[in-house]
Amino acid sequence: MLVPLEWAKDYTNINTSTKELAKKMTMTGSKVEEIIELGQDIQKVLVGKIETIKAHPDADKLVICIVDIGTEKIQIVTGAPNVKEGQLIPVAVHGAKLPGGISIKRGKLRGVESHGMLCSGEELGLTEADYEGAQVDGILVLNEEYPLGMDIKEALQLAGEVIDFEITANRPDCLSIIGLAREMAITLGTSFKMPQVKLDKGYGNIKDQLKVRVDNKELCPRYTARLVEDVKIEPSPLWMRRRLSAAGIRPINNIVDITNYVMLELGQPMHAFDYEKIEGGTIVVRNAKPGETIVSLDDKDRALTEDMLVIADLNKPIAIAGVMGGANSEITENTKTIVFESAVFDGGSVRLTSKALGLRSESSSRFEKGLDINMTDLALDRAVQLVQELGAGKLVEGHIDELARPIERKSFCVKTSRINDLLGLDLPVSQIVDILTRVGLDIEDLGQEIKVTVPTYRNDIEGMADLAEEVARIYGYDKIPMTLMETSVAKGTRTQKDRLLERIKNTLTGMGYYEALTYSFTSPNIYKTIGYTDPKDYPKSIKIANPLGEDNSMMRTTIIPSILEVLSRNYNRRLDRCRVFEINPVFIPKEIPLKELPEEILTLAIGAYGKDYSFFTLKGLIEELVERLRLEDRISYIQDKHPSMHPGRCAKLLLDDRAVGFIGELHPKVADNYGISDRVYLGELDLDLLLRETNIEIKYKALPRYPAVTRDLALVIKKEITAGQVLDKIKSAGGKILEEVSLFDIYEGKQVADGYKSLAYSLTYRASDRTLKDQEVNQVHSKIVAALESDLGARLR
């Protein structure tokens, strides 16, 4: 809310500097966003009078003017086509500054000295609305008398301070000059007065000419109107235009300006209808009828629905209630008689209508927050008062006031001790009463309690907590002492999940992986990009109803695409290696459309490319991680296929017999989609499952007391038999004394027959209660060899 300070000063005293005022207002709840100094960019521009004009000796298009600026007469060369002797004009003298950072210095134009510049309206940053003639080609000719040498900012009322306040949703009363003037008075402890409105007596009687019927009193609890005849539509006076401009509203004509002026001043949106366009001289406030449309003031055709409230005449809607007027009843230069409307409409209804039409206005944004039902008639009279002040028309006597029910002020009782208890203060009752009275509440001291009666402009005050806020903001948030509640001794606990997550992240970063955080949104086309060929295989995914574009319209069901984007970005920035992971939920719906909240599965995704990286680098990482979660005995890897992955280099991970994720090498076609020509390795694991199953209990196992016996075992075996099968066989045949099996060499090539490979293992045997004898070891070792030979067709090498 932009508040020109001199406007606010009409209603309160400001006994401090603007800067100090801004600070104090912020601390009582009206946050100051900015102090704007108008006219700062115009310096040393004075009112001057052109005395004489002579031709320039060396230039046809230039003339030499002698200009009287009060203290002296100076010579200025100008090319303006519209100069005439005797004109009053703005003169930028030597050292002047103009908007846009332009500075004016004396100099010579085609050999003739010029001591400044005559200014056009545009050069002063003025529009036609600011000053008549501001947009003509040439200099700005002032059409009123001003003392010569007067600062142009003073003459045209260009200077002044404007404070921009941030107004919170609970204080619609502060969307007005008087609302903020009242807050200034409360803050500074100065006086505040409401506008005093006295109207000159009018003619005739409104009731003879205008009828108003409110059909929907729920949505329109109050509707007031007055009639003004013999209207002369013309520009409003400079002071009004300057105030409107300073408050951010474009001046249009006297009548429209008055409605806007009253809205800004009192916070009550107003509307003016051309009376002659209202059929039957009757205004009906009703819901729109099926199929009705209206062209709004912004010249757009609007389709109305039955839940929308309209202002209509006997036949058609002439305004969308509280949102915008209709073009069919708009004030034009031919308007003779106007109806001023000042009403209260239901906030929720205005908000829905404005949202449904995609049409927000100064008016709707005020109505939707809920307006003071007591302001309608004052605003109406204020508008008429301005009409009379401006001589813009003649009042028809009387007014219309359709009030649905008597106006009641809210009132309730509160123990002041509870206010103190909530704030952590110990203020005496008298001080609390003082503060609440100062903010405009009527207080009755009942001893144990106070009875509070709330003015209608403060409907946000409903109970003890609201009073506590009023007390706190006036007493000063900064004066509330800092304390720490007694319960603060206990130390908080982290969940097991939280601790395990930290362990996983530390393990991953310790092994060289960077943690990434990416958007949870993705594109519906993403499945194609990551290698799915048949849309029937696409995972069920949740769509956002109002996304920021198609690419961000779906909640991800996998983190793989996000990781690929991170890898791709780093690859494009020429990093020769990259290792990243992300831990975040993916969103898995049971059905679409959603009948309940989807499952959010905490997922770990890992991605890497670069030299010396292979499938087994990634697998090794996973093995370390799984061991860190003490799940190594329950995880197995089986060859698998995945749409995104290399068909021969992908493993599914099983926890016991439940799928927990996959790892593998990215399919080159998918890598190509991401512009990566290196081999890329990816893995994705269901962390929720892993964390649930993690065994956090640690039990110490005694270190071995008897020596181990190591035997090597070299086999030649068919290629298609996996290392996993061999390992299982060795383990099952090895029994209790086989402590460890480690595969230390795999060979395929010259010394091995086609279709075969050689595997070399080191087997460690140990018993926990004795030193093993060779014979015992030999027996088991032979059993292993026999099993490998008979069951897997292996041969010893």
């Binding site: 912020t26 946050k31 949703a169 909530l422 970063t509 943690e515 459309p593 909240l597």
Partner: protein, 339 residues
């Protein structure tokens, strides 16, 4: 024979002196001291000596043997020492050549700062609570005193899935979920991802991270809120940090406040980071609105509480002087490496 022994002694000592390789020492020992060595040869000839000379020659022979053995031992030691010195000299390296790094990764700065904040609040007795990112309108708005069509809903541009399900716009629904399950005393922080339909720019991201706090118990005051926030701010931004509460409005708290901390960069003098105000806004807070307590069947006449919430990404940016929130989601390794 004496002369012979003396000759051997001199010859051997001379030979030993000339030796400069460890390998040759064994050869030397065999030649003079071994079973077939010169000294043994001489002693074998002792049988031919008169009996009275034998002890004398024997003594001399022993003396020569002892001397040679001790000299040999010394020589061995010297040569070993010299060899080691030579090796060490030869092995000198250029210590300014860069090391071979195993390559550490890093936590994302948002995680790092979150961990720091968790530690601070855990130390003050808060537990960590979490909730879903896709949420019911009820938990995100209604139960927080933001009924349908409340104008304040506009300040949180919301992504909807349908009429009743949305992407949570703040972590406050976790407060409601916690209070539904648990009776006071309640003391939790809720970190997590939140969503607002803001177009991306240097200060806006449709996805960001929040951390909220909630305390509900008997006798909780606004003074307690100020105290907790002060402890927090000093822990994060340094012991000199001051906090300032300004009145504000949130539908779910009353009284409500916006909270500024003194700018850590300029110490309150005014700089570009704090827009020359000396203060940086970091969070919103207030006393839990009685109506919110009523929603979860906690009697506001018996209990009171406070809540606060802040944007984690913003704290990260302030703490590290990052001027563009987009960097946090780009995951450029050169960026991540700096934290």
């Amino acid at each position: 024979m004496k002369a012979k022994l003396e000759e051997i002694r001199l010859e051997a000592l001379h030979a030993l002196e000339g030796l400069d390789e460890l390998d040759k020492l064994e050869e030397f020992r065999l030649k003079y001291l071994g079973k077939k060595g010169a000294l043994t040869q001489v002693l074998r000839g002792m049988g031919g000596l008169p009996a009275e000379e034998r002890p004398i020659v024997g003594q001399i022979a022993n003396e020569v043997r002892n001397q040679l053995e001790s000299e040999l031992e010394q020589k061995t030691k010297d040569l070993k020492e010299a060899a080691l010195t030579r090796r060490l000299e030869a092995e000198k390296i250029d210590v300014t050549v860069p090391g071979e790094r195993p390559g550490l990764g890093r936590l994302h700065p948002v995680t790092t700062v979150l961990n720091e904040l968790k530690d601070i609040f855990l130390g003050m007795g808060f537990d960590v609570a979490e909730g879903p990112e896709i949420e019911y309108d009820y938990y995100n708005f209604e139960a927080l005193n933001l009924p349908k069509n409340h104008p304040a809903r506009d300040t949180q541009d919301t992504f909807y899935i349908d009429n009743t399900i949305l992407l949570r716009t703040h972590t406050s629904p976790v407060q409601i979920r916690t209070m539904e399950k648990q009776k006071p005393p309640i003391k939790i922080i809720c970190p997590g991802r939140v969503y607002r339909s803001d177009e991306v720019d240097a200060t806006h991201s449709p996805i960001f991270h929040q951390i909220e706090g909630l305390v509900v118990d008997k006798g909780i005051t606004m003074g307690d809120l100020k105290g907790v926030l002060d402890v927090f701010a000093k822990a994060v931004f340094g012991p000199e940090t001051k906090t300032k509460l300004r009145p504000h409005h949130f539908p779910f708290t009353e009284p409500s406040a916006e909270v500024d901390v003194s700018c850590a960069i300029c110490k309150g003098a005014g700089c570009r980071v704090c827009s020359y105000t000396g203060w940086i806004e970091i969070l919103g807070a207030g006393m839990v609105h009685p109506r919110v307590l009523e929603y979860v069947n906690i009697d506001p006449n018996e209990y009171s509480g406070f809540a606060f919430g802040m944007g984690l990404d913003r704290i990260v940016n302030i703490k590290y002087g990052i001027d563009d929130i987009r960097l946090l989601f780009e995951n450029d390794i050169r960026f991540l490496k700096q934290f």
